[in-house]
């Protein structure tokens, strides 16, 4: 079959600090009609650049060399006018974060209709009809009535459907989807994936699916292509790949994903090199357990063994990369936090939480799972006394409800919180050392002692003391989150509230952090309230899981028991949406 897209020896450089820096090198890829290829890599791997190159949507100052055959035509050096004809007609594109990717002040019908009219002409009315038809096709209920709504009136999943409808308006042969499910609830993400799979079948559509998360594509992709630091490290059929990845990096990546019910999470030590500081030879070598001296000499030639891996020492069967994680021990707990009859609403709106009761034991980690809007973040804030509520929250037998002033501050010190986005929650004008020391100063710890403890805390979260004079803006997301954890631990809390602690992080960083949290919990006997929409993450850390829906706990059980035997249909749906490896 003739490929819809064939990329040969593509190299892309971007302007960074006045210099041309290569972000993608010697990249090859081909997709035939009806095929779905997953392009996988962590941030900085060059995967988005690869996807944007296909329609030449790269930022200003980008330079490309190589060949990009789109439906048989080399567009690598095509002019802007020709590119406009191809964009949307031969290949459509779906982006991450559909709320930002849609124009907020135009109706969805007009935006979908525009995609149609740009290429096919015709009246506004005809375009609207086409838009309604497309909306129906991507599964928007009551499409005719909703066509004149604006993007903000749709839910996240529906918005992404609108994006897909727009990309498919002119029946393209290729659909490029750049992280289309990132940021969506797992249940919704799964629905989007199923929609893409159906459209692919029905329209014989080629799909290039770009993602940082292997687990997303495990079920649907025909082929997998893994990028690392701007180079392809492994590519081949999805089944073969998931059965036995050959490149130590992709194997480590596969091991780092929090699959459902996994006992250990593999870590990938070290960090992705910056484009300016890439090592000679294999770029993964400095982080690779299997690296030999010759790995650092020149970039390894691809070797085919099931899949194709650019590695001198590809893994043999049953070899697993990455160092081992931490085992989880199941035990019984005395109660620390008791939540009794908690109710909460904003203004006169619908109740966010209703008559909610929970207990967290000393040293226990309780996971709270639920979709967005289930009230899980509000629960965390109510426990922390950051939102007014009705009912009781008891910490170590003390009712926190009536506390004011100094007593409230003292109680808050016993509970610390780690938020989703470390960049938002750390003061960018304070040095990392100061951030971690702040709770110590508040507790009246003398300066030399505080410094000593900051160093110890940094070591606990696996960071070097050299980061103390650094501002949070200049460290990676994973490092910043570890700083946030160290800051939380500095106050020596009894309870740690973790609100989506890993959902803004890359897979390998997430693995590192989850293992770290598991280790800290065990070592310090710390209680945890872990809030997440990701069942796999929660099941990895939590001793017990409570499923939240519409502000109520609909089911609570020990993790293993809940996974094996979910009572509620909703819990089943959540578990099904969690990433898993086919055995």
């Amino acid at each position: 079959m003739k490929p819809v897209l064939e990329i040969r020896d593509l190299t892309v450089t971007l302007k960074r600090g006045g210099r041309d820096v290569p972000v993608l090198e010697h990249f090859n890829l081909s997709i035939v009609p009806g095929e779905m290829v997953a392009l996988v890599g962590e941030s900085g791997s060059g995967k988005t650049v690869a996807a944007l190159s296909v329609l030449r949507l790269l930022p200003l100052g980008a330079k490309i060399s190589g060949e990009i055959f789109l439906d048989g035509e080399n567009i690598a050096q095509a002019g802007e006018a020709r590119l406009r004809q191809l964009r949307g007609s031969v290949a459509g594109m779906v982006f991450q974060d559909p709320l930002a990717a849609l124009n907020p002040s135009r109706t969805v019908a007009s935006q979908i209709g525009e995609a149609w009219r740009v290429h096919k002409g015709g009246s506004v009315l005809a375009a609207r009809e086409k838009a309604v038809e497309l909306l129906g096709e991507v599964g928007i209920p009551d499409a005719a009535a909703r066509a004149d709504d604006f993007p903000h009136q749709f839910s996240g999943g529906m918005r992404q459907r609108v994006m897909i409808a727009m990309a498919l308006a002119c029946s393209p042969k290729l659909l490029i989807a750049d992280e289309p499910t990132t940021g969506l609830d797992p249940v919704i993400a799964r629905q989007i994936l199923q929609l893409l799979a159906r459209l692919r079948r029905e329209l014989n559509l080629a799909v290039l699916f770009v993602t940082h998360d292997l687990s997303v594509v495990a079920e649907h992709a025909d082929a997998v292509h893994v990028l690392y630091a701007g180079r392809s490290v492994e590519w081949g059929g999805a089944k073969t790949f998931f059965a036995q990845p050959r490149h130590p990096y992709s194997a480590a990546l596969r091991g780092a994903v929090a699959w459902l019910g996994q006992a250990r999470l593999a870590e990938i030590p070290g960090q992705l090199p910056e484009p300016e500081a890439r090592p000679p030879g294999c770029r993964f070598a400095p982080r690779c357990d299997y690296a030999q001296a010759d790995c650092a000499v020149e970039y390894p030639a691809p070797v085919e063994r099931g899949t194709t891996a650019a590695c001198l020492y590809p893994l043999r069967n049953a070899e697993r990369a990455g160092s081992a994680g931490v085992e989880k021990v199941v035990q019984k707990f005395a109660p620390l936090l008791e939540v009794d009859g908690l109710a909460l609403r904003f203004g006169k709106g619908l109740p966010v939480l209703e008559n909610l009761s929970l207990v967290i034991g000393q040293g226990e980690c309780l996971g709270i799972v639920g979709e967005s809007g289930s009230g899980k973040s509000s629960l965390g804030k109510a426990v922390l006394q950051m939102l007014p509520y009705a009912g009781h929250v008891l910490l170590g037998g003390q009712d926190l409800g009536g506390l004011r002033g100094a007593k409230l501050r003292a109680a808050r010190r016993r509970m610390q919180v780690v938020f989703q986005d470390p960049r938002e929650s750390l003061n960018p004008r304070m040095k990392i050392g100061e951030i971690i020391a702040e709770p110590l100063h508040l507790a009246g710890v003398a300066k030399p002692e505080a410094m000593r403890r900051v160093k110890a805390l940094l070591a606990d979260v696996g960071l070097s003391a050299a980061l103390m004079p650094v501002y949070p803006g200049s460290v990676s997301g994973g490092q910043a989150q570890r700083v946030a954890i160290a800051r939380a631990l500095a106050a020596e809390p009894e309870l740690l509230v973790l609100d989506e602690p890993t959902s803004s992080l890359d897979v390998s960083t997430q693995a590192l952090l989850l293992n770290l949290l598991r280790g800290i919990g065990a070592k310090r006997g710390l209680s945890c309230l872990l809030i997440s929409h990701d069942f796999a993450v929660v099941s990895y850390l939590a001793d017990r899981i409570a499923v939240l829906r519409g502000g109520r706990v609909i089911e609570v059980n020990e993790t293993a028991a809940l996974l094996a035997n979910p009572r509620e249909a909703y819990t089943k749906a959540l578990i099904e949406a969690a990433p898993r490896l086919q055995s």
């Binding site: 849609l102 525009e114 903000h152």
Partner: protein, 313 residues
Amino acid sequence: MLRRLLSSAVSIFLLVTLVFFMAHLTPGGPAFSILGQKATPESVAALNARLGLGAPLLKQYGIWWWHLLHGQLGYSYLLNRPVGALLWDYEVNTLVFYAIAICLSTMLAVLLGAAQGVWHGRWPAGVIGVFQLVFYATPPFFTAAILVLCFAVGLHWLPASGIGNPRLAHPGIGTFAAHLVLPVITVMLLTVPMLSRYFGEAVHEELGKDYVRTAQAKGVGFAGILFRHVMRNALRPLVTMLGLSFPYIFTGGVIVESVFNYPGLGWLLWRSALGRDYPVLIAIVLLIGLLTVLGNLLADLVNGWLDPRGQYE
């Protein structure tokens, strides 16, 4: 919305109160202005008694509000006319002047701003930026003087002043328009730098947003992206700015109207302040307050229409 109106009413009340008492705090008074050089303490006292200025200040203030509630704005000491009728004459002039000036300013600002946004970081935007800075920093009385020197005194192209009151003297449209050219340009030189700069930043910011890339991926050309997608979203901050800058434009207008002797509210305000014509002064302040609130409401309404997300309720 109701809350906004209420808080506006409170701020207008405070404003009027402040102006009333401040005006009375400064030495001098309407009697001195009316009687001029020949004023004796006796004649001043007699006139003050006749004008009702002998009563305690607080009582005067109370009387003023009492009259206002009955629809009376009082009587001008200096011009010997009811304030209501006086304001109406001058207000029409001012509204014509500002309507033209603001419309032209907005159009020019959108044009310049769009150019600046599109060429952000390249030399044409830099050139526009230099002009913005120069004219933004130039006070309007100076601009007005330069314009008069060049176009009225030097080239004799345009009249410098002296339109009088067109409603009374019935000048032709042509004469009226000719008299408006220089004042309008002066106000534009005051507002366009600020508004275009604001709009330019907004266009640049919108051009960097994800939905622009989406439109590109659909195959929409640059003109389509600019006019169908970016403009509308970039207009929102401009509209807000316009609504907010109303008092600022009016302050400039006072100077412009005075320099060009244009019989508008600004000119009247200046005259009344100098002559301690309290009833006129307060009535104008009240009117400006109302117009400012109205301007902001209008900006919110336009923005509500521009942005369907309903952030401007």
